[in-house]
């Protein structure tokens, strides 16, 4: 059935000082979903930007339908039937879906003088029906969900006659349900003869949605495999270049004294609505207490209150036996609290500071970075450089501005900074969000090392595997309350799902004590 629609031959793309693509060959069969898998910075997006006409390759050839092509701009690529759906949607929010889809290619009447709105609408409805899209052609883009906006992007590309659709990390902005719907849409598109190239760094997505998977590593094609004939471990090894432990090996914990004790905590959010109510739990030295739950059930308010970023309505937070409920953020940092925030671009990093300045954020008041109110830039630079090296932050230069790092590298830097603070308590929210497989493994290993070293860890993650794999005890939050505290090794995924949805799954739940005293085994 070999009927290649896209062939890239020996594509090399060199930027000053960086070889982004090194003689990459890629063959994509017509009517298939082809996943382009690789870690952050492996050259996936660069390769697709070459195909889409945004970059001119340093060497190599783009062949479309057997014909060599040279694209000077995306316009040429679109004319040749190649469309790209970017992660950041290129839509005009106040305009209707129809207007957005036809923008720049509107059907006209009266000799091209007036836009033929009726025909535009008809064409959009026909197109949307053909692929089974459920969009309202008259809705404004600003009023519809992100999932629908993405469909509008897809329709826009199809409207311009695309045969090959490139998706750049399309699920990053979607909810799980929306992602499932997207995969269904992809199937429908390929059934009707379209070809899809799908950029991702998530193994599961590539396995679930693609027919063939090409793995890029350091700008090179390290192998193309059929999705049905490979395993997650094999893919992970291809991506990273060595064997990767996808499941962390965890030694049993030996919990010590209680570090964090939360009692009957009640928190009101900024609108005065009660976001957390009557939450009690404790975290001891050398153990990981996980919190699972659908986002928006009070986790972020709980974390804000514990870390000193939000006030408490009632109840108490105690740290190593001391009353900490009303302590300032700085006092908590000084007492040994590390915090990986969920919002790295707003809280975790100052985007316009370089990594040297960001590396001392939170420690700017204390030695070795500050001596008598004066900053020791030498110490700050050394610190940032050691984080960059140890946590494999790319590009590996400490004077890079945080904003110019990719999301995964920003996350690695924050994790490195907070891990190296020598904390007594680590509050980690989504510690591996957006990072690649290799770094994911490294962060998990380091987190467990901290646990072995006696650090108390409070882990909040929306990845269920992460939170069950790393935690010693697991609290499940629903509508601001911890509905159950369970043993993560013995709970089933179904039970967990029911708890997160606010239901009680029968009697055989492996419950554990939410507030054990010193040294008691869970």
């Amino acid at each position: 059935m070999s009927d290649p629609v896209v062939e890239l031959r020996g594509i090399t793309k060199r930027f000053p000082g960086v070889l982004a693509n090194d003689e990459v060959d890629l063959t994509v069969e017509r009517g298939t979903v082809h996943a382009l898998l690789g870690e952050n910075g492996a050259g996936k997006t660069t390769l697709m930007n070459v195909l889409y006409g945004l970059y001119e390759p340093t060497a190599g050839q783009v062949v479309l339908d057997g014909e060599p092509r040279e694209f000077g701009s995306p316009r040429d690529a679109i004319d040749a039937g190649v469309g790209m759906i970017h992660q950041h949607f290129m839509l005009s929010d106040p305009m209707t879906i129809t207007e957005n889809i036809t923008l720049g290619n509107e059907p006209t009447k009266f000799g091209g003088l007036v836009i033929d709105r009726d025909r535009a609408r008809e064409e959009v409805v026909a197109l949307s029906d053909r692929y089974g899209f459920d969009v309202d052609p008259d809705a404004r883009v600003e009023d519809v969900s992100v999932g629908v906006q993405q469909r509008v992007e897809i329709l826009k590309t199809l409207y311009r006659g695309a045969e090959v659709l490139i998706f750049d990390e399309p699920t990053a902005v979607l909810t799980p349900q929306e992602a499932e719907d997207l995969f269904a849409v992809m199937d429908e598109l390929t059934d009707q003869g379209k070809t899809i190239i799908f950029i991702t760094h998530k193994l599961g997505e590539a396995m679930a949605s693609a027919d063939e998977i090409t793995v890029l590593r350091d700008g090179e094609n390290v192998g193309t495999v059929a999705a049905g004939e490979t395993t997650r471990d094999q893919l992970a090894e291809l991506m990273v270049g060595r064997e990767v432990l996808l499941d962390v090996e965890k030694v049993p914990s030996t919990p010590g004294d209680v570090v964090l004790e939360v009692t009957d905590l009640g928190i009101e959010d900024n609108r005065g609505v009660r976001a957390v109510d009557g939450v009690s739990f404790s975290v001891r030295e050398g153990e990981v207490f996980g919190i699972a739950g659908v986002d928006g059930n009070g986790q972020s308010e709980l974390v804000s209150a514990i870390t000193g970023m939000h006030t408490v309505a009632d109840g108490s937070v105690r740290f190593r036996g001391e009353e900490f409920t009303d302590r300032s953020r700085r006092e908590r940092i000084d007492a040994g609290l590390s915090y990986i925030p969920s919002d790295r671009q707003e809280e975790g990093l100052v985007m316009r500071f370089d990594l040297v300045e960001n590396g001392m954020l939170g420690s700017q008041h204390s030695e070795p970075f500050a001596r008598g109110g004066r900053i020791d830039w030498g110490a700050a630079t050394d610190h940032a450089e050691s984080i960059v090296e140890e946590y494999d932050v790319r590009p590996p230069t400490a004077d890079t501005v945080a904003k110019s790092l990719s999301g995964g590298n920003q996350q690695k830097f924050i994790v490195g900074r907070e891990f190296s603070r020598d904390p007594a308590l680590l509050v980690a929210t989504h510690p591996t969000r957006g990072v690649d497989v290799g770094s994911n493994e490294f962060i998990h290993e380091r987190l467990l090392e901290l646990r072995s070293a006696g650090v108390a860890v409070l882990l909040i993650s929306s990845k269920l595997e992460e939170v069950t794999g790393l935690s010693d005890r697991l609290g499940v939050m629903h509508e601001g309350e911890i509905v159950a505290t369970v043993d993560p090794d013995r709970i089933t995924e179904e039970q967990l799902g029911l708890l997160m949805a606010g239901e009680q799954p029968g009697t055989d739940l492996p419950r554990v004590e939410p507030t054990p005293t010193v040294g008691e085994q869970p």
């Binding site: 992660q87 950041h88 949607f89 992100v146 998530k202 940092i333 100052v350 985007m351």
Partner: protein, 418 residues
């Protein structure tokens, strides 16, 4: 698409411009402003009538105003003609230019330091007025106790201290209102400007009034309580010492911003308040401290105005505080940039009078030319600000796992790579 990309590329380039490039861009803007101004002068010159002998001729067309003369007077005249033979570096016009520069330098720094913490202090004018009166009254009170050179050495630091103290306290009020009552500092500082003017008018027309004078002013400070004029004639109201003090202030402020924890906290608060809070910065304290510092600098401007320019306090203080806002923006809120911007402003202010003496160009037209220069030089800085804003928020969406913008629906990552 391509136009949009090009605009984004230009903005991105501006945001990433190095300090040297920014200086070059400013100089290029200055040249552009002069070119546009030239056209306006020529057109205005055609639109009026004048004698054939007083017109200047370009390409065989007569114009009543000569742009070369106008710009020559505006810039070189303000410096006392440095290119002509026998230039005296201690001439009157240069003294006036430097006098304006000195006062604007302090008001510019006052606004700039607040900008860096993300606070818009529109109240520098009021803080300057309060500082000025306090200095005058305190120095008048203290001057009988000392005299001569000892008096100068003691009274000048004393006057500056009093000015900065009162200016600082007056700046701390809107700071505290913002920190503890969430009152918008733009509103409060503007209102406090009126309060300052009115209270000062009340005091100077009453208890502190010079009984010998009809004007609302204090008695004159004794000669030894003023900044010594040193190299310049005392009639020019300029002292090189005050200017040096201003340059030291630039250095100190630069050091504070770049080399101290306080400066780090100020910059973090200005760029990203939530990140500052995350990093343990006490936002309320930073607001009050920065506004106090900003007010203190405004108060010093007032002290310098009293002890160098006027020799007494008089109501109707010129709008140095408001010009300080422009100086701060022009200087990119960077202490060194503020120094350069204050000098440009000083040149323009002093040059205006020279142009008026040397040509028939109406005052309003000179105002237009000045405005053009400020507008052109400030524009790249403005676009830098714009670039930061427009390029800023687009990035998070580009990256994996950022927040979903679907109106508060929960977002759970569907990755099985854990």
């Amino acid at each position: 698409m391509s136009l949009r990309d090009r605009v984004r590329a230009v903005l991105g380039r501006l945001v990433a411009a190095s300090p040297t490039e920014r200086v070059l861009i400013s100089l290029a803007s200055l040249v552009m402003a002069i070119l546009v101004g030239t056209v306006i002068i020529l057109v205005a010159g055609r639109a009026t009538t004048c004698g054939a002998e007083s017109a200047s001729y370009y390409f065989g067309v007569g114009f009543c105003y000569d742009p070369i003369v106008v710009y020559d007077r505006l810039f070189l005249g303000a410096l006392g003609d440095p290119l002509s033979a026998g230039w005296d570096p201690f001439n009157r016009q240069l003294a006036i230019t430097l006098r304006e520069t000195t006062v604007l330098l302090f008001t510019g720094l006052s606004v700039a330091i607040a900008f860096r913490a993300g606070i818009f202090n529109i109240g520098t004018q009021g803080q300057m007025v309060v500082g000025a009166l306090a200095t005058a009254v305190a120095v008048l009170w203290a001057s009988p106790l000392v005299s001569g050179a000892v008096g100068t050495v003691l009274l000048i630091p004393f006057g500056i201290l009093v000015g900065s103290l009162f200016g600082g306290l007056y700046g701390a009020i809107p700071g505290a209102l913002k920190a503890y009552a969430d009152a918008n500092e733009v509103i409060t500082t503007i209102m406090l400007n009126f309060v300052a003017t009115s209270i000062v008018l009340y005091l100077v027309s009453g208890v502190f009034k010079d009984p010998e004078s009809f004007a609302n002013q204090t008695e004159s400070l004794p000669e030894f309580a003023l900044f010594p004029s040193l190299l310049y004639d005392s009639a020019y109201g300029f002292s090189i010492l005050a200017l040096l003090f201003g340059l030291v202030a630039i250095g100190v402020l630069y050091y504070v911003l770049e080399q101290t924890t306080f400066g780090y906290n100020v910059r973090t608060s200005g760029l990203q308040p939530r990140a500052a809070e995350y990093g343990g910065v006490d936002a309320k304290r930073i607001v009050v401290a920065t506004m106090s510092l900003s007010g203190a600098l405004g108060g010093i401007a007032g002290a310098v105005y009293v002890m160098m320019v006027l020799g007494k306090f008089q109501t109707g203080v010129p709008a140095y505080g408001f010009d300080g806002i422009t100086v701060a923006i022009l200087g990119g809120s960077n202490p060194i940039g503020v120094g350069l911007a204050a000098f440009l402003f000083g040149v323009l202010k002093s040059g205006t009078t020279v142009v008026q003496f040397a040509t028939d160009v109406p005052r309003q037209l000179i105002g237009v030319l000045r405005g053009l220069i400020i507008l052109f030089v400030a524009m790249p800085e403005f676009f830098r600000l714009l670039g930061r804003r427009t390029m800023g928020p687009s990035r998070p969406k580009n990256e994996g796992g950022a927040t979903a913008t679907d109106g508060g629906e929960s977002e759970t990552e569907v990755s099985t790579d854990g």
